[in-house]
Amino acid sequence: MTTDYEPRIVGFLCRWCSYPGADLAGTSRLTYPPALRTIRVPCSGRVDPLFVLKAFQEGADGVMVLGCHPGDCHYMEGNYHARRRYALMHRLLEYVGIEKERLLVAWVSAAEGRRFAQVTTEFTTQVQELGPWGGMEGRGGEGENGGGK
């Protein structure tokens, strides 16, 4: 795999911890790979596993779900639910042929700008090494959204 390949990574960032964490990384002038497309969500518990599947279907090479550390959820228990869901989702994805290294679930607090940059950088490298994901893209040249809607 060529090193100049830039993966497409979709990040679902919790509004209370990880999104401010990303903000802090920015205001601290930390750099992280531009491969990441952030989507702000109210809580990691909001991230329906369908979102992840949809992202892969629409051509993402990797998906990150970042939330508050367990115990710190603004809504008390959202990330506990997310934790259960994604423990299972990892295994299902792997079983249907999507390498589990393409999905990252991590906890990043609002004070952890440095950690956010680090997690994003590491994950981007990890996905880069796996190469492009293209397993769910259509065969019929229906554009880069994989023949979706």
């Binding site: 279907q57 506990y80 934790r83 990892h90 299902l92 079983y95």
Partner: protein, 288 residues
């Protein structure tokens, strides 16, 4: 099944009694179908109870039909009360519906039958070889003799697939899913698939395109497998219904196995335990 006609007489007598006594408005069982097959029967008149049969051809999961009895038959009436014949596998589906509050326990009279395995077109079903439960888990009355056989699921086929590389697995599933014609027979046959509006048909947001192409099919099957996590009782109704022979239970059993490994939960064992994805333990350590 063994004692055959004696058991059928008992089932017919029970259905007649339930209908005559007004305990149920409809009894769901099996009757003789065309070309030597059994088909679901909906008995409203006590006299029709004679049509009921029970033998190894009775493979359908009748619990699926309970969803049609959730609302009143006529406006202003109470929803009907239903009698239903369940095999051990069906009884697990029934537990799931009770747990998810889809139908009230009091509305359903459950006639359980012990089971030695069923056949489709003369061949024994795969799931029956793996079945470790030969007596229904929920019933008002249970009939039939002590089962002769007991299966065990060693997940050999799932393990075989797990040992492939991700790309090989992707190729395997691509080949299988590619045959899908998006007829949704799997969903229709599934007792646990009862959403008013399925993700597959939802227009706003449109999760899935209407094209019958590979990305949509992959999405549909992965989505359905996930939605059945901790809810699939392994009745194989989807696989039996699939006109294209897609090994759906290979997918659903993997998820069921992982749910058991991660959360120690087996679907349909009772109607009280909270479903694994609707609950959590704060201190649990889950491999991510």
């Amino acid at each position: 099944m063994g004692e055959g006609s004696e058991l059928i007489d008992k089932i017919r007598a029970k259905a007649r009694e339930l209908l005559q006594g007004g305990r149920v408005d409809c009894f769901i069982g099996y009757e003789e179908g065309s070309r030597g097959r059994a088909r679901p029967a909906f008995i409203y008149d006590p006299q029709d109870a004679e049509r009921l049969i029970w033998d190894e051809r009775c493979a359908h999961n009748l619990v699926t039909y309970l969803h049609q009895f959730k609302s009143p038959l006529r406006r202003g009436e109470e929803p009907p009360r239903v009698g239903i014949l369940v095999k051990p596998c069906d009884s697990r589906s029934l537990n799931i519906l009770f747990r998810e509050e889809q139908i009230e326990r009091e509305r359903v009279y459950v006639v359980g039958v012990t089971c030695d395995g069923v056949r489709t077109n003369g061949r024994p079903q795969e799931r029956c070889r793996r079945c470790a439960e030969r007596v229904p888990l929920v019933y008002d009355i249970v009939m039939g003799g002590v089962p002769n056989v007991l299966g065990r699921d060693d997940y050999a086929d799932v393990t075989k697939l797990e040992q492939m590389s991700p790309r090989e697995r992707l190729a395997f599933w691509t080949k299988e899913f590619d045959r899908c014609i998006r007829c949704y027979a799997c969903r229709q046959a599934c007792p646990a698939c009862y959403c008013f509006e399925c993700v597959a048909e939802q227009l706003d947001p449109a999760w899935m395109g209407i094209a019958i192409d590979l990305p949509q099919k992959q999405f549909f099957h992965a989505m359905r497998a996930y939605h059945l996590a901790g809810r699939c009782s392994g009745c194989s109704a989807c696989e039996e219904a699939c006109p294209m022979g897609i090994p759906l239970s290979l997918l659903n059993r993997k998820v069921a196995r992982e749910v058991e490994a991660l959360f120690g939960y087996k679907a349909g064992q009772d109607a009280e335990t909270p479903p694994p994805l609707a609950t959590f333990k704060k201190e649990e350590q889950l491999p991510m």
